[in-house]
């Protein structure tokens, strides 16, 4: 899931008009909307979104927590999936299209899954092994299928060229050089089309977690329209797309060919699911507080804004339909290690930052807890790194320690380089930037704030030539193993190393940990590597984020689903 996050809280443009449109409050009809076991079938569930569309419904391109949970609940089945359960139990795996959680060979470099009977597409045809294979092959077409997870490329046993790029270039590539044979060997299908075998280039003891990502799910070749496939995907889940208009709405209706016997985890209560796009976040919050007419059966797709939190969480009438839970995301400021080369300078930046002020702006107690590393504190096997107690040479108060920071700069014997702070613009992140500039000024560090349009943000900061020395970021684990966090963010071979941290010792240990078949000791290795990178201030961890959400009075089955920090979409019902 998750992956990258642009800001502290998603925000939309707020027009003055919103003030007039939403100013009328509503009465509470007394229904506390608490979930009931079983749930009621029928009705229309509404999902209110500030986005102009689902970021990508294309299984191979979908890589944001909420969107993965949404697609998985309604349209896109995967080999395995996370359990629909409140709390940390949600991280447990259960089979979805596969009959079980997969069978590894001795060193976990080969995994075999058997498909259930009765898993069909919306036209009634059976999902086959070849279609899964075709789906996975799309990930390799990196110029067409952009933005998705790349675990298929890094894990499947396909030779790479001298530059380390895969020699297989996906199904759209016609040239002779395209190494189709290697791909055909990497994924094998049995004669009856019921068993799929993944041959990996290294031991991956938790590969059955990786296949919860929809990038390992099937696509019918004849329906594939390349980068436009996201507009009208073919469903194998309980619903199918009836209409999908950007900035307006996505309408899902029941898939008549979905067989509930093949899909025990998705009760599929409502008859219809409608996502309303392009709404103003403030008006979503107000609509859900009022919860009148259609809004009574609505949930919000993004977290609430900081300004309404106190109102929502002190109003006893809203009890039972408001949630304040840890999200999967750790928020951090990456320090570009190639721009700030001196480790004492990086430490000084971490020491000078007023983290407490940052947290207050983000929503105070609602924003979450101060972070001490990239592994989140609600993660299984999390251990504190001690970053703010010992790792930086002295205990650092939450407000920062300007004196010690200046001393670090002086001891480094070099002047601090110019510092620019890049962030995705929103009203809240502007305030946070102002606070950062101010707190660095206490250490005589001049920082220039550089707001970037949220839609272009990661495109710019992922380019080392374009980014500033400080880059705001957020990251959540893809599954319950810190192997999807620590090396992704901090190893020189990681896919999201915004800080360009490159420590040969760290890389070697990380590679060893990735191949460690014993998960508890692997977890221990990630904790140690996390602490190592923090002691060199590769990034400044700022918040273990909390999210707040509301559902309408008639929505049943709602809770925050831990693996994605999302609604458990497949479980939501409308209780009328």
């Amino acid at each position: 899931m998750g992956m990258a996050k642009t800001g502290l809280r998603a925000t939309a443009l707020v027009g003055v008009g919103a003030l007039l449109l939403t100013a009328c409050g509503g009465s509470d009809d007394g229904d506390d909307g608490s979930s009931t076991d079983g749930g009621q079938a029928g009705g229309t569930l509404r999902i209110l979104s500030i986005g102009s569309k689902i970021l990508s419904l294309d299984p191979q391109r979908n890589y944001t927590g909420e969107d993965l949970a949404f697609a998985s609940g309604y349209l896109t089945r995967t080999l395995t999936q996370f359990t629909y359960e409140e709390g940390q139990g949600g991280w447990t795996l259960q089979p979805d299209m596969a009959t079980d959680l997969g069978t590894p060979n001795e060193d976990a470099s080969q995994w075999e899954f058997t498909l259930r009977d009765g898993v069909t597409w919306q036209d009634g045809s059976e999902v086959t092994c070849d279609q899964i294979k075709y789906g996975v092959s799309r990930t390799f077409a990196q110029t067409v299928i952009t933005g998705g997870p790349t675990y298929a490329i890094s894990m499947l046993d396909i030779p790479t060229d001298a530059d380390g790029n895969s020699t297989y270039l996906g199904p759209y590539e016609d040239s002779k050089d395209n190494n189709v044979e290697a791909f055909d060997e990497a994924i094998g299908c049995s004669e009856d089309g019921k068993t799929i075998t993944f041959n990996l280039n290294k031991p991956v003891p938790d590969f059955n977690n990786a296949v919860t990502l929809s990038s390992f799910s099937p696509v019918p070749e004849e329906a594939d329209t390349g980068e436009d496939y996201e507009d009208m995907i073919v469903s194998n889940g309980p619903y199918q797309i009836e209409s999908y208009k950007r900035d307006q709405e996505l309408v899902l209706v029941r898939n008549p060919n979905w067989d509930s016997a093949s899909d025990p985890a998705r009760p599929a209560y409502p008859d219809e699911v409608i996502v309303e796009f392009g709404l103003d976040s403030n008006s979503i919050d107000q609509r859900l507080i009022a919860s009148t007419s259609d809004d009574a059966s609505a949930v919000q797709m993004q977290a609430m804004q900081a300004d309404v939190l106190n109102q929502v969480f002190t109003d006893p009438q809203l009890d039972g339909r408001r949630w304040n839970e840890a999200s999967p995301y750790t928020l951090y400021i990456a320090i570009d290690n190639k721009q700030v080369t001196n480790v004492m300078h990086r430490q000084a930046l971490a020491v000078c930052l007023d983290r407490a002020a940052r947290r207050t702006i983000a929503g105070g107690d609602y924003a979450g807890a101060l972070a001490d590393g990239v592994i989140k504190n609600n993660f299984l096997g999390y251990e504190p790194t001690g970053m703010w107690d010992t790792l930086l040479g002295a205990p650092i108060p939450d407000e920062g320690d300007p004196e010690y920071g200046m001393q670090l700069i002086e001891d480094s014997g070099e002047p601090m380089p110019t510092i620019r702070y890049d962030y995705a613009q929103s009203s809240t992140s502007d305030k946070i930037a102002a606070s950062l500039v101010e707190s660095m000024k206490r250490c005589d560090i001049d920082v220039e704030a550089n707001p970037i349009d949220a839609g272009q943000y990661y495109g710019i900061v992922l380019d080392p030539a374009k980014r500033g020395a400080l880059i705001n970021g957020g990251w959540g684990a893809d599954w319950g193993n810190a192997s999807t966090v620590v090396p992704e963010l901090l190893a020189s071979f990681g896919g999201w190393n915004l800080s360009d941290y490159s420590n040969p010792e760290f890389d070697k240990e990380a590679q060893a940990a990735l191949e460690n078949l014993d998960l508890p000791s692997q977890t221990q290795q990630w904790n140690e590597l996390n602490a190592l990178a923090m002691s060199e201030a590769a990034v400044i961890p700022t918040l273990f984020e909390n999210d707040q959400r509301m559902a309408g009075t008639d929505v049943g089955g709602a809770y925050i689903w831990a693996p994605y920090g999302s609604w458990p979409y497949a479980q939501l019902s409308v209780e009328e």
Binding site: V16, D307, V308, G364, S435
Partner: protein, 343 residues
Amino acid sequence: MSSPHFPSEVEERILEEVPSSTLPEGDPDKQIAGRSLTQLAWARLKRDHVAMVALVFIILLLLVAMFAPLLANLLNIDQYQPDRAVLDDATGGLPTGWLSSGISWDHPLGVEPGSGRDIAGMLLFGARISLLIAVTSTVLVVILGVAIGAATGYLGGRFDAVVGRTMDFILIFPLLLMLIALSDPLTQRIESWTGLAGNNSRIVYIIFVFVFFTWPYLARIVRGQVLSLREREFVESAVSMGSGSRRIIFKELIPNLWAPVIVYATLALPSFIAAEAALAFLGVGVVPPEVTWGKMLSDSVVYYTSVPTYLFIPGTLLFLVVLAFNLFGDSVRDALDPRAGRV
């Protein structure tokens, strides 16, 4: 109010009988006085109470903006230094006190939710940037609009055709879209050309776009005025005495154009303040920690229920400033010439 009628043709001096009512009772020196247009207009303006209140407000505002640092020192206000003591983490970072505003002796207008910055200080320094943009844009628009408008009107012919079509071309551009679309690339250009960094280049950019897309409006008004002026005797006599085009434009025409221009300027200035505020809503504007009034307003809108004063105070102020400039501009127009250029 009713506007006194006054001929639109502007002469060097106009004779008008001073109304006896304005003279002291029983003044033995009842006489015919010669008064300039300026004196007449000023006399009318002085009688207009609304205009006077607006003018005093505007002058005060300009003085406050000009001496903001001094004033901030005097009142012991710091717009950057957050006061975290008045914020409550348990309420999501809202200020404490009356209406969650954070209003106290230390913060007479309260603090910004979340950050704890003093709103009075932010307004004080925000006014500098907002007014700098509005005043500079207005001055540049007036200079460009008058010079080019007068030249096209007087010279006519091919020059008029070419410049006129260029103005039409500029006028058809949707200003707001251009502002947003060009914001990043042009700001970077300005940075590399002028060596200005950060906010300075952004302010220059906003002024540039405002001026570039606004001057043709004034130029068209001026051109229309010049078309009628150039047929008049004093211009013809200047021509017959052998004056060059430049002299006629600058010495004969432009001095007679200032009535519509002043009116235009007093109405353009508040529209630039409002436009800057609108831009802040669209994310084009200065970067933190600096603020403008528009930025404060756009940040505060979502707090209309939780911290109403945060929205109300900058909102009211912005409203009053734009209103004052508009009322004053209207009055100036009435005083100068009720028929010249309803802009």
